[in-house]
């Protein structure tokens, strides 16, 4: 096989695959208009800021933040006594609109967009230093946004080129730390001091895979994944910052070894959605959880 042969084979195969999709196969759709594009963005910005206010109320008084298998996941000095406070006030302080930044992932919390993250960064000396700590951001996300107040531990933390991966959990029998989920966070901006943003979960023995990450959805949707475990009951929520759950469905029996699970659910609402699935009931209400970020069509 000479060099042209392999080039031709690659090109022909790709062309054949791509050509299976014709204009007629595309679903009817139109180009986004200004209202649609702006509405999509504002829902991703505004809602988290509203949520921040609600989250601040939820989080104040949190005194037990047992974290840190490693010292660098401890909360910044001064933040643990009162609990972290999500961003609320910085939205009005920045004098100039920031440039855009493509996160590459579905931003879920605490910022709905780069502008909000930059606004916080510009005023970071004044408030919410926990945004710079991936562990604290993940813990606040879990407790304040998801409402899993019994999750008090950062059980692991690692960083790589894709961001930070933070284990969140609780103390089991005998005080043993148990990981309920590993959250994926990325810095919302190109700078080293950009705040962390939760973008998903790294699922293993309990996964949430449908709908696909970052996909556009409309109600009803089928939520599903796989589970390994005995006699688990799955609880589902669809959440948006600052609002009561759009969907709250319990309890789907599931268990086995890598067994598929799924359930159709309906919701009303638009914008970015955080789908949450949790198992529990044996030792505490939530033992494992997974999240999936999507947005409405």
């Amino acid at each position: 096989m000479n060099s042209h042969d392999i080039d031709d084979r690659i090109r022909d195969a790709l062309n054949a695959r791509a050509s299976q999709l014709s204009q007629d196969d595309l679903r009817p759709a139109s180009a986004p208009t200004g209202d649609q594009a702006r509405g999509w963005r504002s829902s991703r910005w505004g809602a988290p800021l509203l949520a921040s206010a609600a989250a601040a109320i939820l989080v104040v008084g949190t005194t037990v933040v047992v974290s840190a298998l490693r010292s660098d996941s401890r909360p910044p000095a001064g933040s643990s006594s009162t609990g972290p406070h999500p961003t609320t006030s910085s939205a009005t302080t920045a004098p100039n609109p920031p440039a855009d930044f493509d996160l590459g992932y579905q931003p879920l919390w605490p910022f709905g967009g780069y502008a909000a993250a930059e606004l916080w960064r510009a005023g970071r000396a004044r408030s919410e230093p926990w945004h710079l700590d991936a562990g604290q951001t993940a813990l606040t996300f879990t407790r304040a946004y998801l409402g899993f107040a019994r999750m008090t531990l950062v059980t692991s933390k690692s960083t790589d080129s894709s961001g930070a991966h933070v284990g969140i959990g609780y103390r089991g029998t005998g005080g043993r730390p148990i990981t309920a989920a590993v959250l994926h966070l990325v810095r919302f901006g190109p700078r080293a001091d950009a705040p962390w943003e939760v973008v998903g979960s790294d699922d293993t023995d309990f996964s949430l895979e449908r709908p696909a990450y970052g996909s556009a959805v409309s109600s009803p949707i089928t939520v599903g994944g796989h589970i390994s475990g005995l006699g688990d009951s799955i609880h589902l929520w669809i959440r948006q910052p600052g609002r009561a759950p759009l969907t709250d469905v319990c309890c789907l029996p599931a268990g086995g070894v890598q067994s598929p699970w799924q359930r159709p659910v309906s919701f009303s609402g638009s914008g970015v959605l955080t789908i949450v699935a949790a198992t529990g009931g044996r030792t505490q209400l939530v033992e494992r959880f997974a999240i999936q970020g999507v947005h409405t069509r």
């Binding site: 790709l14 999709l21 180009a31 894709s162």
Partner: protein, 190 residues
Amino acid sequence: MRTTMDRRHVGMRPPKAAAGARMTPGDADGGVERLYRSHRLYLVRMALLLVDDFETAEDVTQDAFAALHRRWSSLGNEDAAVGYLRACVVNGARSVLRRRRTVRRHPQQDEQRMTEDSADSRALLADEHREVLAAIDRLPTRQREVILLRYWGELTEPEVAAALGISVGAVKSNASRGRDAIAAILGGVQ
């Protein structure tokens, strides 16, 4: 140096935006609509090759156009807008693939469920094409992306570099390694 990228096959060359055509900053609706008509199919096909799923490919592309609309006033001409769309599609596809990769414990089930349509449609292809596509699937992500954009997209090396956010040198090295790996998988002698 081996010349790996000839341009004898031009069937999938993207529609050409009016070269350097200036855009009207206030006409985002009209400008995006024009590009939507001319480039949507091309971009959905690109996304299809990246994510291997029709429906997801359409979603990724629609998101790219929504992002373009928001960014319209900061892009100087239609070439830049098309480049931005390509980068958005690549980033959107990466997000999809990232999510799939995180579920490492269930590779067989994932593949069966998420690419059910893909498997059905791939089965319609000739054996020869399926073999090559399977070889491309085995490449590391970066090499796979470069191969898809360079061979199918018929993009120049700088265009591929811009879409993937890497250097031109990285495009060259990944294209070369990817191509060699495909040849080795297919049993060819290079």
